[in-house]
């Protein structure tokens, strides 16, 4: 029987970030679909990963359909391209109605666009940078 708390996560990009999320969610009992246009990228998936991998280009609408984006609870777009992530997350949110769509965005100037379009963003550089700065106590925390 399926755990009712189990969620479906669609992850675009099986690089370091994408594979890390997939390798964490799948053993925790969630259904995971990972999409990457390079087959060798799936080598980063661990032996405990029991989800699906789809070799395809996430900028093709049909590939998002094949990944069952319409049934997803979470959608994470974590490719190296801001624009691909922005587009895929918006389509997930606005066309497929996914409740939470998260895009990895490097260019901080694009954050306001993401906010306007209802997309959550993560900026790995900024996250790590902030932690480093905090640990160095360069700035006083208020």
């Amino acid at each position: 029987m399926k755990d009712p708390k189990s969620k479906l996560a669609v992850i675009i990009g099986c690089g370091r970030l994408g594979s890390y999320i997939a390798n964490s969610l799948s053993p925790a009992g969630h259904d995971v679909v990972v999409v990457d246009n390079r087959e060798e990228a799936f080598e980063a998936l661990s032996s405990e990963f029991s989800g699906f991998s789809i070799e395809g280009d996430a900028t093709e609408f049909d590939v998002l359909k094949q990944a069952h984006t319409d049934r997803a609870d979470f959608f994470v777009s974590a490719t190296a391209s801001d624009d691909v992530n922005l587009m895929a997350a918006q389509i997930a949110k606005k066309v497929f109605g996914v409740a939470r769509a998260i895009a990895r965005i490097h260019n901080t100037e694009k954050h306001s666009l993401c906010r306007d379009m209802g997309i959550e963003t993560v900026n790995p550089t900024k996250l790590v940078g902030d932690i480093v700065i905090r640990s160095l106590q360069v700035f006083d925390e208020t």
């Binding site: 900028t59 609408f61 391209s81 587009m87 100037e109 666009l113």
Partner: protein
């Protein structure tokens, strides 16, 4: 149509060159954004346009290219995602009233319009429409789907064998919900009425719906599906 516009084009290659040449010759002000430094140099030498080097989907580059003063933004890079972001930034951050995006994936036409792009067009879709309506390219000079393809604007040339030549519009009996909007005869426009006689070499601008398009073309040109 003669109002001067500020047109911002993002992309490269021959299409951008010819688009810019055409718009400039009509008195519009064109700014090009291109990410290839060498191509930017070449474009600057050959065209009376402002050329900005950079990634079009970078908000800072769009700002530098004067996006806030643009009347229309045309995003024609080879990447659908880049064209989407360019149009959205133009619309949301710089309040550009009209944005057009070239898309590779035909399904993105409707998707992009949902996401705020004024017009998304796919070469695939245009060619498929032309071929599926099975009309010969010779007679159909250009076709423009309007309102997400609910209405077609077509320019038709009456060849020597066209059954409509020598008849009045009334005699031809075009289907309902179909209109010959204008006739171009010897390069002069003529607004037709029912009693207007069509002649060989007339160019008709025809408004049709997808369901009566083929029938209308058949009655005018004799081309059958």
């Amino acid at each position: 149509m003669s109002r001067q516009m500020n047109i911002l084009i993002v992309g490269g290659g021959k299409p951008v060159y010819f688009l810019t040449r055409d718009f400039s010759s009509k008195g519009h002000r064109v700014t090009i954004v291109n990410h290839d430094r060498e191509e930017c140099r070449r474009l600057t030498r050959k065209l009376p346009a402002t050329v900005v080097h950079g990634e079009g989907s970078d908000p800072g580059v769009l700002k530098e290219a004067g996006a806030s003063a643009a009347d229309v933004v045309l995003a024609v890079t080879p990447h659908d995602e880049t064209n989407l972001v360019i149009c959205q930034l133009a619309e949301l951050s710089y309040k550009v009233p009209r944005t057009l995006a070239l898309v590779n994936d035909p399904e993105h036409e409707t998707v992009f319009q949902k996401l705020g792009v004024t017009t998304a067009f796919s070469i695939t879709q245009i060619l498929v429409a032309m071929i599926e309506q099975r009309v010969s390219y010779r007679e159909i000079v250009s076709m423009l789907p309007v309102g997400e393809g609910k209405v077609n604007l077509t320019e038709v040339v009456l060849d020597s064998g066209a059954p409509a030549a020598g008849k009045t519009l009334m005699e031809i009996g075009l289907p309902e919900d179909c209109l010959v909007a204008v006739i171009l005869r010897d390069d002069r426009p003529l607004i037709p009425r029912g009693a207007t006689m069509l002649k060989q070499q007339d160019r008709l601008v025809l408004m049709t719906l997808p369901e009566n398009h083929r029938e209308a073309i058949r009655l005018l040109t004799g081309t059958t599906g």
